[in-house]
Symmetry: C2
Subunit: 151 residues, 2 copies
């Protein structure tokens, strides 16, 4: 399947990059990458820790978080903070996207790169910043809730 392929390719890429940097490929890292690839879309740090622990009960949170940091450093994974400040991770393969949380109904919406383009442009125009879409996590009122409260 495509997913297996992707995971496999990722592992190989990772091994190569690590070797080049004098770093090591370990069983734990394999497990963590697998878990991350398997948890399609998003997963919180705690969820990942738990799933990794299922696969290898000796694995500890510190290892998981350190590996996630490493993956981010290598540009293979990303994380952002939800409205409650908790961390959410996903593989870089997942399409880059932002997040919108509605404070009224609690709905969560994804924001595709295409939809975000004009927003990014506005940010750049107003501030000179080129913002990271993947780190963009907005809170506000969705159309429906805005209309309901707006009256």
């Amino acid at each position: 399947m495509a997913k297996q392929q992707a995971t496999h390719g990722l592992t190989e890429r990772l091994q190569a990059v690590l070797k080049e940097r004098g770093q090591r490929w370990t069983e734990q890292r394999q497990i963590i990458v697998d878990v991350l690839a398997a948890s399609d879309g998003h997963a919180t740090g705690a969820e990942l820790v738990e799933r990794v622990h299922e696969q290898d009960p000796s694995a500890t949170p510190s290892t998981v978080y350190r590996t996630l940091d490493l993956l981010e450093e290598l540009g293979l994974a990303r994380h952002h903070h939800g409205p409650d400040g908790r961390e959410t991770y996903h593989l870089e393969e997942t399409l880059e996207h932002g997040h919108l949380h509605c404070r009224g109904c609690g709905a969560e919406q994804e924001l595709s790169a295409a939809a975000a383009a004009p927003i990014m442009k506005a940010i750049a125009a107003a501030t000179g910043f080129s913002a990271d879409l993947d780190h963009l996590s907005l809170q506000g009122l969705c159309r429906r809730c805005g209309a309901a409260q707006g009256s």
Copy 2:
């Protein structure tokens, strides 16, 4: 001074609102509001806990955080999450504003409501969301770092 005045007014408003809701005005809440007013601009949860503890060693974190939640519920305070997920609080009297963190040089920039207006408009146009400016916390590259890395 203006600040004292403002704080005083806040206390009175707060007492009135609480009474109306069948809630109570306590010494701890007074201290927490004072500390929040004194820490002009932003303060992390931990900082506030520490300062409150200085004023009243018997005060505990749970009280501080619960009071901050209450103040937010009443619309008198706000919090947002920094790039590390840590909480930052400020009084609602402070002008509404967003935050920009540069991933390159670590600089932090404030985003005034005026500057943000076109951004908010772009968000509304693209998504139907009316975003909370106070919860807006962008990460990206500032103009300088973007130019430096852009080459």
